[in-house]
Amino acid sequence: MRIGVITFPGSLDDVDAARAVRLAGGNPISLWHADHDLKDVDAVVLPGGFSYGDYLRAGAIAARAPLMQDVVDRATRGMPVLGICNGFQVLCEAGLLPGALTRNSHLHFRNRDQVLRVERADTAWTQDYASGQRIVIPVKNGEGRYVAADADLDRLEGEDRVVFRYVGGNPNGSSRDIAGVTSGNGRVVGLMPHPEHAVEDLTGPSTDGLGFFTSILKAVVNA
């Protein structure tokens, strides 16, 4: 199973995302932002980091990278895409996911182990979880506050497109405790916390993050 991991200038957690794919039993393929080459991957992960230093707006410049045109194109035809942290920001800036991520309400970067509630266990990236399950994975960002106009948030909730919510404290002031959302077809998922940092007992707060990567392998097989 070929799972692509894109490296943009300033991507940081690309090595971690690739490791998580490998630990889940997949084959991580590194993709370069400036190529127009998705290398026949079955799904794509946009990793965390500070693409282009997060200058201008987090994810804004990376969203205009050449490879993103291919990602948008394939995603609209059903290819699964996961955006983690900076990757989520890129997906919002690229218009693949609704809303925007802005400066944390307390104005600080915050890194902590975060409890999330899985709201949708039927997306391409979450089918190994149970709906309502609580998982602990790290959150670490300075611009992770999910915002959209109220009407848009209502619509998003009405369409059941919130995939994760923060519980036990909202780390960044996100509207309605939203930690992650999905596209209408459940194939594109973005979230601020980092499942790829919770895949080994030795280095993470839990191994709760592995489910993302085992889920996608199944989703790809069944597709």
């Binding site: 201008l56 804004a60 919002c92 609704p98 104005l107 106009a149 002031g173």
Partner: protein
């Protein structure tokens, strides 16, 4: 175009783009400034909103349509921000 200001290269114009958060989007940075002003006794300030201010130097006469597109699609995120484009007055 007016004659270039002293020190400005001839044929280069200065375009300013201000980007502000839409009124319905909360602005913690502006809030923090307002809080600090209150603590320092500047009670006459009622609200503060913080946005971005871009100064672009453009070759030749600015192409308004192009700059509008730059401002609206790259410099601002239309989901949460509004832009004001200020071309040099000529």
């Amino acid at each position: 175009m007016l004659p270039a200001a002293p020190g400005t290269l001839v044929g280069v114009s200065r375009v300013v783009v201000d980007v502000v958060l839409k009124p319905e989007i909360s602005d913690p940075q502006g809030q923090a400034v307002l809080g600090a002003l209150g603590r320092l006794g500047h009670d006459s300030v009622r609200s503060v909103r913080q946005g971005k201010h871009f100064v672009l130097e453009v070759d030749g006469t600015p192409d308004e349509a192009e700059l509008k597109q730059i401002a609206e699609t790259l410099l601002a995120n239309p989901v949460i921000e509004d832009v004001e484009l200020h071309l040099p007055t000529d």
